[in-house]
Amino acid sequence: MSQIVLFTLITLSAVGALAALILYVVAQKFKVYEDPRIDQVEEILPAANCGGCGFAGCRNFAEALVKADDFGSLYCPVGGNDCMEQAASILGKEAVAVEPTVAVVRCAGSCDKRPVQNKYDGAKSCSIASATYQGETGCQYGCLGLGECVDACTFDAIHMNPETGLPEVVDDKCTACGACVEACPNDIIELRKKAKKDRKIYVSCVNKDKGAVAKKACEVACIGCKKCQKICPFDAITVENFLAYIDPEKCKLCRKCVLECPTSAIQEINFPPRKEKKAPAETATNAEKKDNNSSEPEKKEESC
């Protein structure tokens, strides 16, 4: 009996030793040299594998960083400038500082503002709906409300608001990876420069129809009246195809355009309430309403 155990032990040990030897030889012979810095850089990357940098995953991005002569257009929006500086110090290169951005949904056509004309009952996908027809409302440019951006987000930073039927971005969670921008078939979502206290001013509309057509489809559509363009002291606003656009680089967040907009298409978010005496009563309530809108919508309506 003990002999069987002994033989088994010897044979198995011999097989094990032989296999280990073969593995060692092969490993030495076919060794692929990998820059150890790739591992180091990968370590400091956020490991989200979101694709926001344009590469398939964090490791691919780390490889690209190690290979690159200078960082140039290489940037990890999730890790941000801190992460890029760390990577630069490991690799002894210069990090290019990029201003942080955040996703902004440029449509305010909630169900009370943009009447629904028909009912879509196809597959729950914005791309499919947009390939089928212009959507449930009279506006062919606006949000289709089927939540493809929500599905695309890996950071849980964008949610559908059941009361407005529109997606809302959670600024603190948004990493500006651009997945939602890519997913939206109507190009509603834009990455805009992050300002102090998450303050934002933007035209919350992408309707390129003539004023009358746009207004008929949606109460809060941009009608291309150019009033905001005229009042802007910084030349930040351009109007093209009956649609205003505020350049985040030039905008100084003075809020003059917000009061001027006849359809309230320009949104101001995270600003303190305006002083009553400076602005006419009507517009002040208007601004207040907007402020409320950003945190919690005041309309308690059925979901749509």
């Binding site: 004309q117 028909n118 196809g122 597959a123 996908s125 791309s127 499919i128 089928t132 027809y133 212009q134």
Partner: protein
């Protein structure tokens, strides 16, 4: 045993409610909206502007390329606007709006009813006339007909196949046309044969249209080379490739055209339009449209001027029933629900199917149980469950190798799926994206 295609197919309830209603001429509308893109290919270029007076049959938009078609005015009157209006695509598109005033036709059009059987034109002139008359495939795909008649060098056509299958449930426009205008249609077939220089034509008709088969066979027997092939009822036999397999037992390989197997397919409605264009000099500005539905009081077939708003057809067929869920442009299998009843009839409108809200809703989607029914019914031999998943996950290279571009969007898979998965919706999306990628590669 009747002939049919081999692979897949389904047999939905036929519901040919309007089969007994003779074609009625719909009264002239007060206003028409004529989209400039009613065909596959480049949109036409508008030739008229606001305030212009037009006559019936006048060209109002000229062809925008080889694969494109002229658009003619279907009424006489004054152009009120050239603007974007929602059409059957569901999006606003450039259209010519005309206020109708009288019914003044161009003098060149022969409006008499007498049958002209002698074909005096040469093959080249026929193709030219078809092109000038803006004729497109009237089965629904609206592919410009002159392109199919212009055979490229090195290819030969042996047989012309006429599509009188009308495999879509509910629709009866081709059926009525074959029954009432068999004489004219057969002359049209002979014109097409002359243009293609073929001596043999086969008219495929499904067996659920016995009257049509009888009437067409009677007329066709007077001429040599024209045969009628009664086919077993099976959807989607009206698909070009399925019809060729059923009627002449030739299989078109993946990515190839019927021309590659020596055949050209035209719809019977197109043959009738070709007759009118060549013998009567009448361009394509009216067509037969079936208006049908289970709740509709008077399911009918109308001869309608292009540009007539859809609600006028529905009114003529007894008005929109209560609890209407969807109005489908085309048949229930491949048609698309309209998002407005102001949409105008175009060259591709073969029918309007009105579904009530209990029938029209989609059943709730559940999980795939891998029953492979979609694989069984796919007439192109694809795996719809796989394609839809790949499209959902955006794996486009795999989609291409799985031959997503072969899908002809017949909807048999979605029809058959016991889990009510919107298979075709996703496949169509994948097809769009793969198509874009392939075009970008060229």
């Amino acid at each position: 045993m009747l002939k049919t295609f081999a692979k897949g197919g389904v047999h939905p309830a036929e519901n040919k409610l309007s089969a007994k209603s003779a074609i009625e001429v719909l009264p002239l509308p007060k206003k028409v909206v004529i989209p400039i893109a009613q065909h596959i290919g480049a949109p036409a270029k508008p030739l008229v502007k606001k305030g212009d007076e037009v006559k019936v049959g006048q060209v109002i938009a000229e062809s925008g390329g080889f694969v494109s078609a002229n658009i003619h005015s279907s009424v006489s009157g004054k152009v009120t606007k050239v603007d974007n209006v929602i059409d059957s695509s569901g999006y606003p598109r450039m259209s010519v709006l005309i206020d109708v005033d009288g019914d003044e036709w161009l003098e060149t059009i022969d409006r008499s009813d007498n049958l002209v059987t002698d074909i005096s034109m040469s093959a080249e002139d026929i193709v030219k006339r078809v092109m000038e008359s803006g004729i497109v495939g009237l089965g629904g795909a609206t592919f410009p007909s002159h392109v199919k008649l212009s055979v490229p060098k090195g290819k030969t056509v042996e047989v012309l196949v006429l599509n009188g299958v009308e495999c879509e449930p509910y629709l009866t426009s081709d059926d009525r046309l074959m029954l009432e205008k068999a004489e004219e249609m057969i002359v049209g077939v002979r014109i097409l044969m002359k243009a293609l220089n073929v001596s043999r034509a086969i008219i495929g008709i499904e067996n659920n249209k016995p009257e049509s088969i009888k009437s067409v066979t009677k007329v066709a027997s007077r001429y040599t080379g024209i045969e009628v092939a009664p086919l077993k009822v099976k959807y989607p036999q009206g698909g070009e490739k399925q019809l060729l397999k059923a009627a002449i037992k030739r299989e078109v390989p993946s990515g190839a055209l019927p021309l590659d197997v020596g055949a050209v397919v035209h719809n019977v409605g197109t043959a009738f339009a070709v007759y009118e264009a060549v013998q009567k000099n009448k361009p394509l500005f009216e067509r037969v449209v079936t208006v049908t539905g289970k709740k509709l009081s008077k399911p009918s077939n109308f001869m309608v001027r292009v540009g007539t708003p859809v609600n006028q057809l529905i009114d003529a067929a007894g008005g929109l029933p209560e609890n209407t869920g969807k109005v489908i442009n085309g048949g229930p299998m491949m048609g698309k629900a309209l998002n407005s009843l102001d949409v105008a009839v175009t060259k591709g409108t073969s029918g309007l199917v009105i579904m009530d809200d209990t029938e029209s809703v989609r059943r709730a989607e559940s999980n795939c149980i891998k029953c492979a029914k979609c694989v069984d019914v796919c007439p192109m031999g694809l795996e719809p469950h796989l394609l839809s998943k790949l499209a959902k996950k955006q794996i486009h290279d795999k989609l291409e190798t799985e031959r997503v571009m072969d899908c002809m969007e017949c909807g048999s898979c979605s029809f058959e799926c016991p889990a009510s998965i919107p298979l075709l919706d996703y496949i169509r999306l994948g097809k769009n994206r793969v198509g874009q990628i392939m075009r970008a590669r060229k």
